[in-house]
C-alpha cells in the first residue's frame, strides 16, 4: 500500500515536471515551440524555463522538508521553517541588499542568507536568557526577533526609492523565481542537496526529536549536538532557499501536514512524501505564476492562496491536526 502511494507520487512528480517544461507564455504558449528552429525560443527554453522549473522543484522540496523538521523539533504540527525569525530576517537582509547594492542579485542573496542565520543565532542567544522550557523559550525569542526584523523591513521600505527600489523590495518579499538561471540553481543545490541527503539518512531517527526530552534521552538521544545539527540544517535550508526565491510562504506549514495524512506520522515515511509533495505543489504554483496572466505574478501569492485553501481543507476534514 505504502509502495503504491509512493510510486504514484513519483509518477505525479515526473508528469508535473514535464508539463511544467511545456507551459509558458512565449509565442502564445505553444508548448512545443522549442522544437522549432526558433533560436530565441530554444534559448528561453533551455536557459530559463528548465532551470526555473527545476529550481521550483528543489525549493519546494526544501521548504517542505525544513517545515517538517521544524515541526518535529518543536513538537508542533503548526510550526514552519520561518519560526525563529528566519523568514523576516532574510527578508530584511534582501531589502537591505536591494537598497545598498541596487539589486545586484548575488549580494541580495548573500544578505538574505546571512540575516536568516543571524536571526537563528540571536534567537538562541535570547532564549538562553529565558528561564524554563528551552524549546518554548526558543519559540518566544523567535517571535520577538521576527517582530524586530519585520519592523526593520518597514523602515527600509519607507526609505526606499519608490520608483525603482520599493517595487523590487515588495516583489522580493512576495517571493518569485523569475530570476532563476542554471547558476542560481547550482548555487542553491550546493547547500540544499547535502542537507536533503543528511535528512534522508536520518529520516527514522528524526522521530526521536518529537518525543519528550527525558524519553528521547532514555532512547539514546543523549547528545545535544544531534538536536542543534538538525535545527541548524533546517534553518540553513530555509534561509538559503529564501535568499534565492524571496519569502515563499505556507509550503513548510501545509505540505508536511498533508504528507502525514498520506503516509502517517513516522518520519521515515513522511519525509519522502514531504519532499515529493513540496516539489509538486511548488511547481504547480510557479506554473500559475508564470503563465496565468501576461505578466509575472509573484509566486508567494499562489503558495499563500492555495496553501491557505488547503489549510482550511485540513481543518475541516480532521478534528485533530497531526
Amino acid at each position: 500500500m505504502k509502495k503504491k502511494k509512493l510510486t504514484g507520487l513519483i509518477a505525479c512528480l515526473i508528469l508535473v515536471t514535464l508539463l511544467s517544461f511545456l507551459i509558458g507564455r512565449y509565442q502564445n504558449g505553444n508548448p512545443f515551440g522549442f522544437l522549432t528552429s526558433n533560436n530565441l525560443y530554444q534559448q528561453l527554453f533551455f536557459q530559463l524555463r528548465i532551470p526555473r522549473v527545476l529550481t521550483a522543484l528543489l525549493i519546494g522540496s526544501g521548504l517542505a522538508l525544513a517545515g517538517l523538521v521544524t515541526q518535529i523539533i518543536f513538537q508542533n504540527p503548526l510550526a514552519d521553517g520561518g519560526l525563529l525569525g528566519v523568514s523576516q530576517a532574510a527578508g530584511f537582509g534582501a531589502a537591505l541588499g536591494i537598497l545598498i547594492f541596487r539589486g545586484n542579485s548575488i549580494w541580495v542573496q548573500l544578505f538574505a542568507f546571512g540575516f536568516g542565520v543571524l536571526a537563528l543565532i540571536i534567537s538562541i542567544l535570547i532564549s538562553g536568557k529565558i528561564r524554563g522550557n528551552k524549546i518554548l523559550s526558543l519559540i518566544l525569542a523567535g517571535i520577538a526577533v521576527s517582530a524586530v526584523f519585520s519592523a526593520g523591513i518597514g523602515i527600509l521600505k519607507y526609505l526606499a526609492d519608490p520608483i525603482d527600489q520599493l517595487p523590487a523590495i515588495v516583489f522580493w518579499l512576495l517571493g518569485s523565481l523569475a530570476g532563476s538561471t542554471w547558476q542560481v540553481l547550482i548555487r542553491t543545490m550546493i547547500i540544499i542537496v547535502p542537507i536533503m541527503i543528511f535528512f534522508w539518512f536520518y529520516r527514522w531517527r528524526l522521530n526521536l526529536h518529537a518525543m519528550d526530552k527525558e524519553i528521547a534521552f532514555s532512547l539514546g538521544l543523549k547528545n545535544k549536538i544531534e538536536l542543534w545539527a538538525s535545527l541548524l540544517a533546517s534553518v540553513l535550508l530555509t534561509s538559503s532557499i529564501i535568499s534565492i526565491s524571496g519569502i515563499v510562504g505556507w509550503i513548510g506549514l501545509i505540505i508536511p501536514n498533508y504528507a502525514r495524512m498520506i503516509a502517517g506520522s513516522d518520519t521515515s515515511n513522511s519525509i519522502p512524501v514531504t519532499l515529493l509533495l513540496g516539489a509538486i505543489f511548488t511547481m504547480i504554483c510557479d506554473d500559475l505564476a508564470r503563465a496565468l496572466l501576461p505578466g509575472e505574478i509573484p509566486l508567494g501569492i499562489f503558495t499563500a492562496f492555495l496553501g491557505a485553501l488547503m489549510f482550511i481543507g485540513l481543518l475541516i476534514n480532521k478534528e485533530k491536526i497531526t
Partner: protein, 256 residues
C-alpha cells in the same frame, strides 16, 4: 559471586540557585528487584528517577552500577535504562506499531532505519502485551489504559535492564492497575530491575520487594518493604497517623 546492584554513594542534588532536593543519599538497589519510591508530592521522587536515568547529574556523590564485580557510572548504560514518564506529550498521531518501534532506537544506528530483526522484537512484545488487535490503530483512537500499555510496550522494545516508571498506576482504573502489577511481576521474573514511584503505601506493600521512602527535609529510608512499611515509619513520613496491617496475606493501610 557478589550480588549486582545500583549504588547511590552520598548523592546530593538541587537545581541551580534553588534548594537542595536530595541530600546525602546512600543506598543500594539490588538488580532484579522491584523497588518502590514512596513519598508525599514534592519530596523528590521524580528527581531521583531522573538521576537514575542519568538525565541530570548529581551535584555531589556518584550513582554506579555494580555488575559482575565491575563498577561503572550509570550514565554509561546507553539505552539500558528505560523510562516511563507520568504524562507524555505525543504531538503526532503515530500508529501503535510505529510508536512501539521507536523503543528500538538504542539498537539502531543513527543513519539507519529499523531492520527485520527490530520488527520481530517489537512484534513479539506486541503479542505478549495483547496489543496485536490494535497494531494499526492510531494512538489518538485508543483509551488511556491502552495507551499506558503501548508506552510500556515501547519501553520493553528498548530491552532495558532497568525500567524506571514515574507513578505508573496513578491514572489507571482497577482492571488496568491489576494488569500492570501482573506485568511488573512477570518482568521481575525475567531479571529486570523495576523502580517506580508511587504515593500509595498499599501498592508498595503488595507489589514491591524494596522501598525507598522519602520525606521532607531530605529525609529518607531504604530497605526491604516489610521493614519500611510499618505504622511508625509511615506516620512519621506522611505526617498523619497511619496503621499498617500485614498478617497472613491480609494487607491493608488504615489512615486515621
Amino acid at each position: 559471586m557478589k550480588s549486582n546492584s545500583i549504588r547511590f554513594n552520598n548523592v546530593s542534588f538541587g537545581y541551580s540557585g534553588r534548594k537542595i532536593i536530595i541530600k546525602n543519599f546512600s543506598f543500594e538497589i539490588p538488580t532484579g528487584s522491584r523497588t518502590a519510591l514512596l513519598g508525599l508530592n514534592g519530596t523528590g521522587k521524580t528527581t531521583l528517577l531522573m538521576l537514575l536515568l542519568g538525565y541530570i547529574a548529581p551535584l555531589e556523590g556518584k550513582i554506579t552500577l555494580l555488575k559482575d564485580g565491575q563498577e561503572f557510572p550509570i550514565t554509561e548504560m546507553n539505552g539500558a535504562v528505560g523510562y516511563l514518564s507520568q504524562n507524555e506529550n505525543i504531538p503526532f498521531d503515530y500508529t501503535m506499531q510505529e510508536f512501539i518501534m521507536l523503543g528500538r532506537a538504542p539498537h539502531i544506528l543513527k543513519f539507519n532505519v529499523p531492520s527485520e530483526y527490530d520488527f520481530k522484537v517489537s512484534q513479539k512484545i506486541i503479542q505478549s502485551l495483547d496489543l496485536a488487535s490494535l497494531a494499526y490503530s492510531k494512538l489518538g483512537e485508543i483509551s488511556g489504559g491502552e495507551l499506558q500499555r503501548v508506552r510500556i510496550a515501547r519501553t520493553l522494545a528498548q530491552e532495558p535492564e532497568i525500567i524506571l516508571m514515574d507513578e505508573p498506576m496513578t491514572h489507571l482504573d482497577i482492571k488496568n492497575k491489576k494488569y500492570l502489577n501482573g506485568l511488573i511481576n512477570n518482568l521481575k521474573e525475567t531479571g529486570k530491575t523495576i523502580i517506580y514511584s508511587t504515593h500509595d503505601p498499599l501498592d508498595v506493600l503488595n507489589f514491591s520487594d524494596r522501598c525507598i521512602i522519602m520525606g521532607k527535609n531530605n529525609k529518607f529510608e531504604a530497605g526491604e518493604t516489610e521493614r519500611i512499611i510499618r505504622s511508625k515509619t509511615l506516620s512519621d513520613f506522611f505526617e498523619i497517623p497511619i496503621t499498617v496491617i500485614n498478617e497472613k496475606g491480609n494487607k491493608s493501610i488504615v489512615v486515621h
